[in-house]
Amino acid sequence: MASPYKKRRAPVGLALVAALVALPLVPILLWTFAGEWRFPDLLPKEWSLRGIQHLTAPGSRVAEAVFTSLGIAVAVTVAAVAVGLPAGMALGTYRFRLKGLVIFLILLPILVPPLASTMGIHLTFIRLGLADTAFGVFLVHLVPTVPYAAIILTSVFADRTGELEEAARTLGASPLRAFVYVTLPEVAPGIAVAALFSFLVSWSQYILTLLIGGGSVVTLPMLLFSAASGSDPVITSSLAVVFALPAVVVLLIALRYLKPSGDQGLPGLGKVS
């Protein structure tokens, strides 16, 4: 056990880390509600709701962008998990020749800078008529998300022995029913982690959306980047708050519901073989 001295120090360290993460967010919140805030002042001189009003103003297209972002991110999440689940199951469960090579190829899209591969994808998409469409953006978002989902789920299945499924089989469950009734509930937290990763990666995607969407697919990061290169910190900050919201919500959900049954921390971040 830790000594009492250490015990007292731990919260101080945690508080420091928390402050380091949280403090940069404070000016963003302040800017969101700032009216007039000039250089030497520690706090804004005047407060206003201009930033919030901008978010809901019809001309700002914020609502539309949020809707597009959400739609793409949800679709990407579903698709990444749908592809990553069987891949992770096969890689985590079975031994086969050239498994290392298969894992390498699956990870390749996140090892190679996405910008490089997207150039080629862009040319192909233009030919296929997928450039400048939301569907094209959805497809290109799978490039960075599928590897994450597959590798998280691989480690989830690598921790499983298959014994519970064997028990289910001897009790009268077909392979499919053993999967539905036994495997799926057991790996659900892992699937949730893979889904959260995929969602957040897609939600915060800028470069890929810009290249493939070509400006016609307007997601929230597009608005945020163009606002950031402008000169109105109030607008930028209010957009940033909206942008950060899903991450905060998702984190809270994860902390509340993803209690793994074992003591190995969050599932999917264990061993990968």
Partner: protein, 349 residues
């Protein structure tokens, strides 16, 4: 309900020269409890997996009530299995775990509730229906696992060392429970174990396996009284071995001509006798010996004997007056001597 089980030349190998099981042939009568006994790696668990359908043997046939079940997947074999570990489904309550087999068979909820309750009562786990497996002790989990297997009234009950993960004090209780449940239900049961005591206590018949081969299949007593080979005799505790030559109904040994109550074909043989069967008295098959060592074991005293250069082991009552160096007359009763078929071997170990 209970099935007759036949194995015919069942063989399995995991790779070209790694035989897990070689030409296993035996029959288990309906309602019989047979123990597959052997050291770890002898192929007994492989055999059980083949019976459950989780593993398809590379050769031979498995028949239940005369019909081959090799093509039948585990879920349709009506063979319930209890594993070494409880393997309860962690996300389900005890009740849902026990009811799983019924649910898979499409038994309606109302009907299955009563069966689950009965099964839990049989293993004395009623009152725990709403618990999660994680809240139970290892012994309780294993009892629930037994209830889960029994609830479907399987034709064949397969037990893969279900006691080995339990503490010694729990093991005996569980052993009695298994026996009680098996007898009351009349299930044809195959029980895998490496513990010969467990096999002797539980089984109607024991199948002894070494290196994937069946060495002996008989009632427990036979393993003590009429072992098939020296290896078998040694697996079942201490035994004396005495080389000799059989002729005219007696066996010529260094201890003189010994008479056996069972006829022995002429030729080289190895006689075997349990230390407990050695008597200290005059009479048939008696000879002079000297006590070379004594070891007090509480319920008995084991002693070493030297007779004409032959070393034997015998057991004495705990309050014996005999001491090391005493000269005694020992006798090997004809009915306790058994001639091994595998010919002569060296001095007893």
């Amino acid at each position: 309900m209970s099935a007759r089980l036949e194995l015919e030349g069942v063989s399995h190998r995991y790779s070209r020269d790694e035989w897990a099981l070689s030409e296993l042939s035996l029959a288990v009568e309906p309602g019989e409890l047979v123990a597959f006994l052997g050291p770890s790696g002898c192929g007994k668990t492989t055999a059980l997996k083949i019976l459950s359908g989780l593993l398809t043997p590379t050769g031979g046939d498995v028949r239940v009530d005369g019909r081959s079940v090799l093509g039948v997947p585990p879920e349709r074999r009506e063979a319930a299995m209890v594993f070494q570990k409880p393997l309860l489904f962690p996300h389900m309550s005890v009740e849902a775990n026990v009811g799983f087999g019924l649910k898979m068979r499409g038994v309606p909820r109302g009907e299955s509730g009563g069966k689950v309750e009965t099964a839990l009562r049989r293993v004395r786990m009623d009152g725990y229906a709403d618990r999660k497996p994680g809240e139970l002790s290892g012994g309780q989990q294993q009892r629930v696992a037994l209830a889960r297997a029994l609830v479907t009234e399987p034709g064949l009950l397969l037990l893969d060392e279900p006691l080995s993960s339990l503490d010694a004090n729990l093991r005996e209780g569980m052993r009695e429970l298994v026996k009680e449940v098996q007898e009351s239900g009349g299930y044809t049961t195959v029980f895998v174990t490496h513990d010969q005591e467990e096999a002797v206590v539980l089984a109607d018949r024991i199948a002894l396996l070494f290196d994937g081969r069946l060495r002996m299949y008989d009632r427990p007593q036979a393993f003590y009284e009429r072992p098939a080979s020296r290896e078998v005799a040694e697996f079942f505790g201490t035994a004396n071995f005495l080389p000799g030559r059989a002729r005219n109904g007696t066996v010529e040994t260094r201890l003189g001509d010994l008479r056996l109550s069972t006829p022995t074909p002429p030729g080289e043989v190895t006689l075997t006798i349990r230390p407990e069967a050695v008597r200290f008295e005059e009479g048939e098959n008696s000879f002079a010996a000297r006590i070379t060592s004594t070891t007090y074991l509480g319920t008995q005293v084991t002693c070493g004997l030297d007779a004409a250069g032959v070393q034997l082991k015998a057991s004495l009552p705990p309050h014996t007056q005999l001491r090391e160096g005493d000269r005694v007359t020992a006798r090997l009763p004809a009915e306790s001597l058994w001639a091994l078929e595998d010919g002569p071997e060296g001095q007893p170990g």
